[in-house]
């Protein structure tokens, strides 16, 4: 059932999943938004307007955007700390995300979380967690709650390849497999845990093979191909939703920037980074869109202009927002009872 329509690309014949022009442009817009948003955040960091750690997602945008495109709005998402991309891909207002980076009262977490702890629980985004691997058993618990309450949603748990060497990775996924929970583990393999190449510190170099420790399906995909991500996550999510238990996806990608700000990147060569940039997920998708006549150059340029304006608006919103009132210091520690 190869598609002949110029507005649709057939990506999985058996399931008949196609991408519409509308989806194609939406993904281009969201990936561009994440990219531009983070470039501006980087600038703001340089100006001292954002403090602490700032872990940029630049180069990995296709994973968040492809995965969110496959998930339903009520599906639960829980992530590691390199988390700006997920909240933006889920459609959360960039202004509130930028305001959180600025530590402003209008931020997603009222300025109490910052870069590493983005959450929007109303939209089933259960937050970014900054102890590597520490949120994996929490994802298991979210999926347990869904199973217990007979809810149809799956939990998507994102983490980096570095987390797969932790005890919580093993303990969390083992329990999810024992209880046959609707959980998909999406491992973004950007090849380095901070500055240490994965193969130097992991006995098993292919993350997807670690799924065999739990006797669950594991697949390796091109994480820079937004469509491949969308399809894999969709397939795994539906299998999980139908009672198939947890699933694991290893999405191969690359982080164009350092681990955080101020990373001298002595652990990799400039050539390696340049080579990776040749597979830039946004450029690749742009090419696919144009080659398949899903949009014109002018339409894509219009989107980029709109994204530019949207990010500028987000920055202005953050700049103009008030800092948390000092009285807020004592709030949120406990639920008032």
């Amino acid at each position: 059932m190869a598609s002949t329509s110029p507005s649709r690309v057939s990506v999985e014949e058996a399931a008949g999943i196609n991408v519409t022009a509308e989806e194609a442009l939406d993904w281009f817009r969201k990936m561009s938004l994440i990219r531009r948003f983070e470039e501006r955040a980087e600038e703001a960091y340089g100006q001292g307007k954002i403090g602490g750690f700032l872990h940029l997602y630049i180069g990995e945008e296709a994973v968040a955007v492809g995965a969110m495109a496959a998930l339903r709005p009520e599906d639960d998402v829980i992530t590691h700390y390199r988390d700006h991309g997920y909240v933006l891909a889920r459609g959360i207002e960039p202004g509130r995300v930028m305001a959180e980076l600025y530590g402003k009262a209008t931020g997603l977490s009222k300025g109490k979380g910052g870069s590493m702890h983005m959450a929007d629980v109303r939209r089933h985004l259960w937050g970014g967690y900054a102890i590597v691997g520490g949120h994996i058993p929490v994802a298991t618990g979210l999926a347990l709650a869904n199973q217990y309450r007979n809810l149809p949603q799956v939990v998507a748990c994102f983490f980096g390849e570095g987390a797969t060497n932790t005890g919580t990775f093993y303990a969390g996924l083992n329990l999810a497999a024992v209880w046959k929970l609707a959980l998909i583990a999406i491992v973004e393999n950007n090849r380095y845990g901070m500055g240490t190449a994965f193969e130097r510190v992991s006995a098993v170099g292919d993350v997807y093979r670690k799924a065999s420790a739990f006797d669950i399906p594991g697949v390796k995909i091109d994480g820079n191909d937004v469509l491949a991500v969308r399809d894999a996550v969709h397939r795994m999510a539906e299998r999980s939703r139908a009672g198939g238990g947890p699933q694991l996806i290893e999405a191969m990608t690359y982080r164009f920037r350092g681990h955080s700000m101020g990373d001298p990147q002595r652990y990799r060569t400039r050539e390696e980074v340049e080579e990776a940039k040749a597979r830039d997920p946004i450029a690749c998708w742009r090419r696919t869109v144009l080659e398949n006549d899903l949009a014109t150059e002018a339409e894509l340029q219009k989107i980029r202009d709109e994204v530019e304006a949207e990010v500028e608006e987000a920055v202005q919103f953050a700049e103009n927002s008030p800092a948390p009132d000092p009285s807020e210091l004592y709030n949120d520690v406990l639920v008032s009872e």
Partner: protein, 323 residues
């Protein structure tokens, strides 16, 4: 009123709350088929089934992590850590997730979770005989309850399960067989309220958990010599309710804190600091602390017996304070 053991009181609290609210579930090592390592959940697996009584692997980070997610997702889990020693394996979950999630996401998520775990000892050697209550009481975002009597255990556990905040509920293995009066009617007790367990005019003894019973025993002996101790049971270690302690010190002008933990950076250090800060002028003698000898717990029975204050050594200390 009925005579119940501490174990039965806790079991009744769990059972009543499970019957009251179907979102309450129990998870932990050996809580189901085995019936609980200390037999607290005996019979629950048959009564409530495997959906609500979840046996877990021996992986405390997964038990607590999964309980956190389940609590955020709308359930009211009671997670059991077989002993407080094993909480160390789950320390990241407890300190970084249980205690922080509500705050760091700006009140977007709640973690209505109870972690039940017993302290205790009995020739279990260095790694299985510890008391870490002060570690947890150190952390904002947690409530820490450590009851000494069946009545308090039941009422406080029911309150903990109903709380929208995370509660570390620390039991004591050597108290499970202790009996006490428990009302037949439904009741809960407020978390964060200390209780005067014995009135007295001469010396204030501040204690909690098993050491409370040592304090009461010493007070009984001292009464025969005409020395009247007022014994305050903290019951909750975070937040600390110091009002009954202050009231007592104003009357007795002497305070002894009795804990089972090592005293360095223990609960007694905090209580002594607060008494010194807020009732300095009431004190006739320095605040005293008694606790565990500061060495890792030895296995040999005769050495273990030397580790803790007993009624005799407490009475001796009180007599020195009034001399």
């Amino acid at each position: 009123m009925s005579q119940k053991t501490y174990r039965e009181a806790i079991r009744d609290a769990l059972r009543e709350e499970m019957l009251r609210d179907e979102l309450v579930l129990i998870m932990g090592e050996e809580v189901g088929v085995w019936g609980g390592t200390y037999a607290v959940t005996r019979g629950f697996y048959g009564e409530f089934g495997g959906k609500r009584i979840l046996d877990t692997p021996i992986a405390e980070e997964a038990i607590i992590g999964a309980a956190v997610g389940a609590a955020m997702g709308g359930l009211r889990p009671v997670a059991e850590l077989m002993t407080i020693n094993f909480s160390l394996v789950a320390m990241d979950q407890i300190v970084n997730n249980v205690a922080k999630i509500h705050s760091m996401f700006g009140s977007q998520a709640r973690v209505p979770l109870v972690i039940r775990t017993p302290a205790g000892w009995g020739q279990l050697a260095a790694t299985h005989s510890q008391s870490f209550e002060a570690w947890f009481a150190h952390v904002p975002g947690l409530l820490v309850v450590m009851p000494a009597t069946p009545y308090d255990a039941k009422g406080l556990l029911k309150a903990a399960i109903r709380s929208d905040n995370p509660v570390m509920f620390i039991e004591h293995a050597r108290l499970y067989g202790v009996k006490g009066e428990v009302p037949d009617a439904e009741y809960t007790l407020p978390i964060g309220v200390s209780d005067v367990k014995r009135p007295g005019r001469d010396v204030t003894i501040v204690s909690y958990s098993r050491m409370l019973h040592v304090a009461l025993g010493a007070a009984e002996e001292l009464a025969k010599t005409g020395i009247e101790c007022e014994v305050v049971d903290l019951r909750t270690l975070r937040p600390l309710d110091m009002a009954p302690v202050y009231d007592s010190v104003e009357k007795t002008h002497r305070a002894l804190i009795l804990e089972e933990d090592w005293t360095t950076c223990g609960m007694g250090a905090e209580i002594a600091a607060r008494i010194s800060r807020y009732r300095f002028d009431s004190l006739d003698v320095p605040v005293e602390r008694m606790g565990q000898v500061e060495v890792p717990m030895p296995y040999a029975k005769n050495l273990e017996e030397l580790m803790f204050p007993d009624e005799k050594s407490v009475a001796q200390k009180v007599m020195e304070m009034v001399a």
